[in-house]
């Protein structure tokens, strides 16, 4: 019977979230808008790329490959260079954004059906650009192989990528991953913060209290819908970043979702706490932002935690965003070993227990 009641509550919550223009906007607009702005501010399509080519092979095959680049719509100038030094100079001076290096044995290995290495050197300082240019170059090389060696099922050309100055394109990926975290946080936070306050404002809250629902059931009904919504949105945003920013996902999926779950619970606890003390939706939104801004500033997203004054470093121990950012970056980008994940997950579990119990205490106290 309690399950049935909770399901009714959850269903109601979804209907209300969807019907309330405020919260509907909240779950659709900011995630899409911010990610799209990010995407477009970072210009998704790049044209007029200049490329340096170090062709040590000097064969028909190598020239064919180079002409593929020449005829593509993205590349403008192809500058032939003679040695690695010139490649380095041109990239350093930002004369080219990419350099293609073909070895002396390129043609022979290719014709004799052996694995061939092709090196792409990218300017890692322009992280986003590098990612995009890399995508184009890889496509062109793939097309070349498919066109000239149509019978091969397995591609023989290996593309070796070197991102100079910023080997893993850390900045862009970290930003994108952190952005996904922050967006998921603010959605979970504001949705829960609005939920009780909205019912108070509308006068429906009394009706809930007077029904035979226990406060545990009411709280479950308030936690589960935002949890599901934020998990789904985080997944969608994750896929989005993977497609549009080529952010790899190298870690363990179960670990990712488990940490996400714990993290979201800790944030929902804070949202509920705010909601239990607010009388109107405006207060709730203000309350949510009052928490969110400092939480992000003290998360290590903007400046590393280790660089903060001691006092603030101590405070960050209560900040769920801090621990989760480490997990996100680690699991998404680095396949962080489980024991390191747990090191950050355990504090998160404690924070979640703390915030959820504070919320339920506040909820019961404020019934009066």
């Amino acid at each position: 019977m309690p399950i049935r009641r909770i399901i009714s509550l959850i269903k109601k919550e979804f209907i209300l979230i969807w019907k309330d223009p405020n919260s509907r906007m909240l779950i659709i607009v900011p995630p899409l808008l911010q990610l799209f702005i990010f995407a477009h501010a970072a210009t998704m399509e790049v044209r007029n790329i200049d490329m340096a080519v170090l062709d040590k092979s000097q064969t028909l095959q190598s020239r064919n490959l180079i002409s593929e680049f020449q005829h593509s719509k993205w590349f403008k100038k192809i500058i032939l260079v003679e040695n690695e030094n010139q490649v380095a100079q041109m990239i350093k001076a930002k004369k080219v954004q990419i350099a293609l290096c073909l070895n002396t044995d390129f043609a022979t290995r290719l014709l004799s059906n052996k694995q061939t290495n092709v090196q792409l050197i990218l300017d890692g300082r322009q992280t986003n650009l590098a990612g995009i240019v890399n995508g184009y170059a890889t496509t062109i090389i793939g097309q070349y192989e498919a066109q000239y060696f149509p019978k091969r099922n397995v591609p023989k050309i290996n593309i070796e990528i070197r991102n100079w100055f910023n080997p893993n394109l850390i900045f862009l990926w970290y930003t994108v991953v952190s952005l996904v975290t922050i967006l998921a946080t603010s959605i979970a936070l504001v949705l829960t913060a609005l939920s009780i306050a909205r019912e108070r404002e509308m006068g429906t809250f009394d009706q809930l209290i007077v029904s035979p629902l226990s406060s545990f059931e009411i709280l479950m009904g308030k936690i589960i819908p935002p949890l599901i919504i934020s998990l789904i949105l985080a997944t969608i945003m994750g896929i989005f970043t993977n497609i549009f920013f080529q952010v790899p996902f190298v870690g363990s999926v179960p670990l990712y979702y488990f940490s996400m779950l714990i993290y979201l619970l800790s944030v929902l606890g804070i949202g509920l706490f705010i909601s239990s003390i607010c009388k109107t939706q405006q207060q709730a939104i203000l309350g949510a932002f009052t928490f969110q801004m400092p939480a992000i500033l003290l998360s290590g997203y903007i400046s590393p935690v280790e660089d903060m004054p001691m006092f603030f470093q101590t405070i960050t121990w209560l900040n769920p965003v801090r621990f989760f950012l480490v997990i996100m970056k680690g699991v998404c980008l680095k396949n962080m070993p489980a024991e390191y994940v747990y090191q950050n997950l355990i504090p998160l579990i404690f924070i979640a227990i703390l915030t959820l119990s504070a919320a339920s205490w506040m909820f019961k106290r404020n019934l009066d």
Partner: protein
Amino acid sequence: MIPSVEIKNLTKQFAQGEPAIDNLTLNIEKGKITGLIGPDGAGKTTLIRLIAGLLTPSKGEITTLELSPVQQRDLLNTKIGYMPQKFGLYEDLSVIENLNLYADLKGILKPEKEELFNKVLDITDLNNFRPRLAGALSGGMKQKLGLACTLLGKPDLLLLDEPSVGVDPISRRELIKMVRELTDEGMTIFWSTAYLDEAHSFDNCIVMNEGKIIYSGLPHNLSETTTGFEEKVIELMGGFNPEPSELAEKFELKEDNGEYVIEALDLAKKYGDFYAVKNNTFHIKKGEIFGLLGPNGAGKSTSFKMMCGLATPTRGTAKIMGQDILKNPSKARSYLGYMAQKFSLYGDMSVLQNLSFFSGVYGLNIFQRKEKINEIVDIFHFKKYLDRDAKELPLGYKQRLSLACAVMHNPPVLFLDEPTSGVDPITRREFWHHIKALSKKGVTVMVTTHFMDEAEFCDRISLFYKGEAIATGSPKELKTMANAKTMEEAFVGLIREREREIVKSER
């Protein structure tokens, strides 16, 4: 004499459906109080807003104080006072600050201001409350302050849209007296109301239904007595033919134990050093309808909230079917059906979604739910509204939906907090018809109301004043106690008597 308002063949059509005002012709006599009554959705508010120039007519003509309300609105604004259903008082400003604000908005200059304030505060009897925050005033006093602000512009025509909703009988009497005095100075008053006794006491009366006028004339031509007038008006509106309440017939009363179903045991609630409720003890027997009456701010609502677990008592407790509301809240509440003062279902959900949500919360399984919902849809004729959002329902239907959700789980106890506030007479009759039938079946009802005719339906009444029950008994007993003929006289009499006792003991 030229009438204050002349309306000829007026029609107002909103985007969809039937016209709100349908080819209506009407004159409002100068210097008189004209009452406007009719069921919810009859077009009363629309008519008032058209007269004030806040809406544009679709067809026909209106002349308000010899001006065209749409074209000469600026000129008209200085001559009329309009008090909407919910007057926009600033709750965080004091009485005098609210007045100052509205005086500035009406462009009243300094020298006149003080004199005018004295006058309107005298009329509304608020002189002693100048520094009080508007939010801290009782419901009746808020309406008086609203009236005071409306009177600031010294209007020739006063348009009042249900000013007495949720106001207790004493404050209502005072409000009517004040307005009555204004007509002596030649002011014209157009007053929309849901209280038929009020309308009966006015000079003229207009009964509207579905955008048309179905009666216009002296109220006393309909009937000499208030009850007779009520019967006549209800008949005009289409009448109410009670059939046996299907709601009560289908109701299954489950549990049965103990003599007293509802008990309040020495309930008290203290805010600071002020007792909102003290020494409140009563026992309600199975099947009784128990009324809590009293002026605004007497502690009825606070008692009510404590008894259903919405507020924690400072002292004492309440029991429902023998279950302590503090120790076993969930169990105690499971016996309870609750209807709040204002509409408190989910306005953004459709009627069907609301019904299915509440049936789910009460723990009915899918089959029981379907059956119960179908049953309720039949009883209350919800069929055509099923997919409509609850907030868009006509008031009468909202009230029916609230009742439906409150009784869905066959609770042996019903708590109704001003359930009929602002509801039209026919819907009120229907509502009480159900309640009386339910109580015959053994459902115990606790109710608060400001309608004295409803108080007569109660088996027993507890009269509240300043946080204490000052008299308890059947309506007949209370009337004998106060030596009064009507319930309203008994109410006013008993409270006045108590006031005198307090004054005496303070000396």
